[in-house]
Symmetry: C2
Subunit: 441 residues, 2 copies
Amino acid sequence: MVEFSMVRTIERTRRGEPLGAEAVRALVAGITQGTIPDYQTAAWLMAVLWRGLTPDDLTTLTIAMARSGATLDLSSIGHPIADKHSTGGVGDKATLVVAPIVAACGVPVAKMSGRGLGHTGGTVDKLESIPGFNPELTVATFTDVLRRCDLVIAGQSADLAPADGILYALRDVTGTVPSIPLIASSIMAKKLAIGADAILLDVKVGRGAFMETMADATALAETMVRIGTDAGKRTAAVISDMDRPLGRAVGNALEVIEAVETLRGGGPDDLRSLALHEAALLLVMTGKAVDEAAGARMAERAIASGAAFERFAAVVGAQGGDRRALEETARLPHAPIVQSVPAPESGFIAEIEPLAIGRAAMRLGAGRARKGDTIDPAVGIVLRATVGERVERGAPLFDIHARDATQAATVRADALAGYRFSAEPAIVPPLIKTTIPASIC
Amino acid sequence: MVEFSMVRTIERTRRGEPLGAEAVRALVAGITQGTIPDYQTAAWLMAVLWRGLTPDDLTTLTIAMARSGATLDLSSIGHPIADKHSTGGVGDKATLVVAPIVAACGVPVAKMSGRGLGHTGGTVDKLESIPGFNPELTVATFTDVLRRCDLVIAGQSADLAPADGILYALRDVTGTVPSIPLIASSIMAKKLAIGADAILLDVKVGRGAFMETMADATALAETMVRIGTDAGKRTAAVISDMDRPLGRAVGNALEVIEAVETLRGGGPDDLRSLALHEAALLLVMTGKAVDEAAGARMAERAIASGAAFERFAAVVGAQGGDRRALEETARLPHAPIVQSVPAPESGFIAEIEPLAIGRAAMRLGAGRARKGDTIDPAVGIVLRATVGERVERGAPLFDIHARDATQAATVRADALAGYRFSAEPAIVPPLIKTTIPASIC
């Protein structure tokens, strides 16, 4: 065994040479234990942004990060367990729909989710708009809820993959965030630490997503699928459109309402079809369905029978939430002011810039501009018509749910600026761009 | 004025975008004052290694580094002052020859030199082999010696360009040493802080040099010439061969002896011609000679008249050294053992790998393996025949000057391994590869 040298590791990385499993493990151990100084780690991160890592080194890195702290042992559940992750976008509440459907089909879903930073909250922020809902679970409670409901959705434990926390904090202040291998390993380390058997990744692409181009989104999706597969997990990815908001509701309680509508057989078409596709994939990946068509039929039946909604209500209740709020949405927080904004012209909606809507919702209080900001669960924006639809001048275009009229007025013009109208019917780009299936390993 | 953001500066650097003078100056100020954390500087250094810097930003950086601490004001000397720097190689004692020649021609030469790390000592280490010689001068003494002798050769002051010291230490531990703009700015910042008007750079190229290829050597030379010129200094560069040792002596006192021989009209051809070329360039750059041919004639006269040697003896005396040691070399430290190594075969010497000789000398004690190692001024290797010359089997090939016979025996085979012999006369590559002349700015 050669003694580990961080300088040599940095040099090899910046020359694009493989590091080898031993060096990568020593690197992660040194970062976690604080024996490698931050300045060396920072130089290494920039070298990775420049040169990338070999597939083997990246998998080793991710597994070592996953094992750098506590890991969950879900083997006592006795079934293949599913996990689902989205890279995030405006109005993305798909996890709230997919997870209950899959659970209702008999596949346990264990989900840990970070809090959102940016336009709207994360999955956990959305659930916290339900009175009483508690995402901060101990490991014992996490496993218990999972066993009772086949479903659990918790906030991310701080001692999960601590190496990732250290690396992420350093990337944030050293201009090394947009590295596809580093993004992939950060996401996958947390997935591997939770220990689900089947991992479905939804990589958003477009102006409202972190990955703006198909090339970047594909690279990220393929990298994560390869890491997961190499780590022995069934892993697949969907690349889906984020050039428009997903669904119609943007804002925490508003998105819970839309998720519930979808679980009860309604909801917007795009959200519904994405959720069915993702649920079907997870059912195939866990061996519950023979193929995607069969999986989609199972998922549709879970909605139609009310089992999916029932599963959602059960988990909300098990985690301390008021499940009546899911049936009587008046029990959810609601904004004092709902201001309807009329269409400024007649025509087809050719475009709704997702960030224009997302940032307007954030300014209303639905998202965090800075870490630690408090979220207002009630506020947000609800689209009354979406891309591809025709509107008449003066007809309602979107509603602003705000704390007061002044606040509503400040975001109105910016949200409107995200719209583009056309005289001709607009071509609506497909929601699901591509699917990278799980390979058998 | 926009507030300085280090993260934005790192991001712009890694995207290859210009930073602007204000940001670069804020960066150097933050590094010098310690307000920018090392991890951000380290990430920035790796981004520079990756993307480089624009010429304007690099000049601004170098000037800001030069001004980050004390600078010398040599304006009271009242003449254009010359400085000469070599990137270093095996047997490179040219500065000890060039500086006295130029001074003897009436051009003051102010030289500060770092200590050597590696095969042999730096210029200051070589001079310290002269009994009593003191390179640690105060600013007042530095200027005084320069005024009295038109020449001063001192060790580098620690408060000269402190930003360079900080950056160099960080580069050393973050794998970011081999960046041409960073190497260029490190060298030039110290030159600019000394404040000479004409700067001649000798960039060594080959297996015994830091720059192994002509492409790298040319890029470094051109980058330094551009920085110097943009900073308002007459700056030129010579690219010279380091695929063989320069001259025949490798080792501190041994090199002083060879330099003295050259100053007195003898010495090896390669050292003599390189020194004359460089002296001539400096005489042209300072307006002392109308062209290089005239400069070369002046330089030759300075040797023939004894003025150059006299100038060297004067400065050695002015800096506390025993000038008699230059005439009676028995007064210099000498090794107890001189072991002659015979040629193992007859033929033409086709190659002498400079690092084979340099490392052998270092192991004898002539150089430093680690910072802070003590140098043995007496030991080293003297070539009895060099590249292109014919030797007969058994004739003396080189002499090992060592502390004892055991030490001599340990380096003998390694030094011999650097030789390649050929039956045919070998083509000796030109010593001076190219000259990048000073442009008028």
